[in-house]
């Protein structure tokens, strides 16, 4: 059984700045790390690998060459191999163009039974690429899975938490699953496995290695355009002071909260 986990590399902090002159995001000096939510997807894959002898776990990412660091980290956690989709032609892609290239790469890998995603990336916060890939591959999807187990030779059973409902879903493989971060606690890569991960295969695929329609790549293949980026300002409110002794002030607050039907 082959599991492919799709991961993304993100800046190590969300404390990003806007360049005051260009109004662009200033990413200088921001080291890249694996999207934390993707570690839950890798952990799920490794748990399944631990439970059965025949499970192979591959990692797949699209991005510049330094995204190899996140693939190594995932291999240091225990994944068997990594695929990096790297080409200038892929740059500037939105979720649709990203999903297209990842889907084409998954077609080339060919025999993935389970394709896993983290719930969303912490930089762009969309969570869209998983369903897009599922659609392009014509596979069923289970998003935001709260649990997942192999319930048959070729079948998974998952729980999914909607706002009001807990669903149980049964999918015949192959299928695409994205996972909630509460699903598990990702293991740490051990120091020894970090060293050994550098002996595991890391395949880099460029534009010409994949079967691609150029009009669907990168910025040109992306329907959306970011027109403005800005930092939010805290929104000021009109303050009603609570005054007097602590007891007076507490009494004023209780009245106010009652008026607002909060207590």
């Amino acid at each position: 059984m082959k599991i492919v986990v799709c991961i993304k590399q993100v800046p190590e902090t969300n404390d990003v700045k806007i360049d005051p002159v260009t109004h662009n995001l200033d990413r200088r000096g921001l080291a890249g790390v694996m999207n934390p939510f993707d570690k839950n997807a890798i952990e799920l894959a490794l748990t399944l690998k631990d439970s059965r002898d025949d499970v192979q776990v591959a990692l797949l990412t699209m991005g510049p060459d330094d995204y190899a660091e996140s693939l190594r980290e995932g291999m240091a956690m225990g994944a068997d191999e990594g695929y990096l989709l790297s080409d200038r032609a892929f740059a500037g892609a939105d979720t649709l163009a990203t999903g297209y290239v990842i889907a084409q790469a998954l077609k080339k890998i060919g025999d993935a039974d389970l394709i896993l995603f983290g719930r969303q990336a912490v930089d762009a916060d969309t969570g869209q690429v998983g369903p897009i890939v599922a659609e392009f591959l014509h596979q069923p999807q289970i998003t935001y899975a709260a649990s997942l187990r192999l319930s048959g030779a070729n079948e998974v059973t998952a729980e999914r938490l909607l706002e009001d409902t807990k669903q149980t879903l049964v999918a015949q493989l192959p299928a695409v699953v994205s996972v909630r971060s509460e699903l598990n606690t990702p293991r740490y890569p051990t120091p020894r496995n970090i060293q050994l991960s550098f002996a595991k295969p890391l395949t880099v695929w460029h534009h010409d290695d994949l079967d691609l329609d150029d009009s669907r790549l990168g910025q040109a293949g992306s329907p959306t355009i970011v027109t403005k980026v800005y930092a939010p300002e805290p929104v000021k409110r009109e303050l009603t002071p609570l005054t007097g002794t602590p007891s007076d002030a507490a009494s004023q607050l209780i009245t106010a909260l009652k008026n607002r039907q909060l207590i």
């Binding site: 969300n14 916060d125 998003t143 800005y230 303050l239 909060l262």
Partner: protein, 321 residues
């Protein structure tokens, strides 16, 4: 010539309409003016009448596709049904709630339509017929305005509780628009049980008692725990308190992506760093207690008390009893 259509995809929440759908209809009406026609798309069972709840908010039209399989349909099946309607009516824009369901179906539909989708939006406006969607990134530290200039329909998912639903006069036209249900045999919902939402993280809590450096003693934390229980909420902390053994980064508000917007937040001993303020400013009611009258937290609070956190908390607890 008929007006371009602005769609709101209605979503079900147990036996009712998801509140976000109502919020979106009100917002869409505001955006539409005379230029767009606001159409609510409703996929429901033959015996359902969710249109009765939707019409209160006054969309121009409620367009219904009925099939008894819709209430338990999977993402791909729902996206397929909506795709058929899009092909038939060619809307200008489609809005979904950024609920679990909305965020699952919308990108699937986007891929079918090969168009743009902006996620989890906090604001929407039109420049002529171009939808300008504002979405947060980097854990709400950055806002982006995003457009989809050359592809139609334009699509967005909108964060729940971003807009306020308002009932509106005017009778909506209710029409039936049949679609063909294409079942996906490889995926089935085998059970669905309603859940009562219990707050497991500070981000889920509807009431939050927040503690900072000025409210860090063991006694104050004990009082705050009691206060949180009385309010039916949970404790959250600002960054300095994550150094304390009983708190972790899961309890932290702001900075680490833990943006919260509870009904009520009472801040004790928190002066208010920018990312903290941005991380909780969407709370409905904000109360601040701080010894420093110049603390920035008072700029964003509805109610403020300048004084000792422990003394105020003790007084508050006494009056609750």
């Amino acid at each position: 010539m008929s007006k371009p259509e602005l769609w709101v995809i209605a979503e079900r929440r147990l036996d009712h309409v998801e509140p976000t759908t109502q919020q979106l209809i009100t917002k869409a009406k505001g955006l539409a003016g005379d230029h767009f026609s606001v159409v609510t798309i409703l996929l429901e069972a033959t015996t359902d009448h969710l249109e009765d709840e939707l019409s209160v908010y006054g969309p121009d039209e409620i367009r219904i596709a009925r099939d008894d399989r819709f209430p338990t349909a999977t993402d791909a099946e729902l996206a397929d049904a909506i795709k058929q309607l899009v092909d038939q009516y060619q809307p200008n824009s489609i809005l979904f709630g950024a609920t679990i369901t909305g965020r699952s179906i919308a990108p699937r539909l986007q891929a079918k339509l090969q168009t743009g989708l902006t996620a989890d939006c906090l604001d929407l406006r039109f420049d002529d017929e171009t939808l300008v969607a504002t979405k947060p990134s980097y854990g709400d530290n950055i806002m982006c305005e995003i457009i989809c200039p050359d592809h139609r329909p334009q699509m967005a998912t909108v964060r729940p509780n971003t807009f306020v639903a308002a009932p509106a006069a005017g009778a909506a036209t209710v029409t039936d628009s049949p679609v063909t249900f294409h079942p996906v045999d490889r995926l089935h919902v085998t059970a669905a049980t309603p859940v009562v939402n219990t707050a497991t993280t500070v981000g889920d809590a509807s009431r939050v008692v927040a503690l900072g450096r000025g409210a860090a003693s063991a006694a104050t934390i004990d009082s705050a725990t009691k206060l949180a229980e009385k309010l039916g909420g949970r404790i959250g902390v600002s960054r300095p308190l994550t150094d304390q053994p009983r708190f972790t980064h899961d309890d932290q508000i702001g900075q680490s992506g833990n943006t919260i917007h509870p009904e009520l937040i009472v801040n004790f001993g928190i002066s208010g760093a920018v990312q903290y303020l941005v991380g909780m400013q969407d709370s409905q009611t904000i109360v601040a207690v701080n010894a420093d009258e110049n603390a920035p937290i008072f700029d964003v609070a509805d109610y403020g008390y300048v004084g000792d956190a422990q003394a105020f908390m003790t007084a508050l607890l006494a009056q609750f009893n």
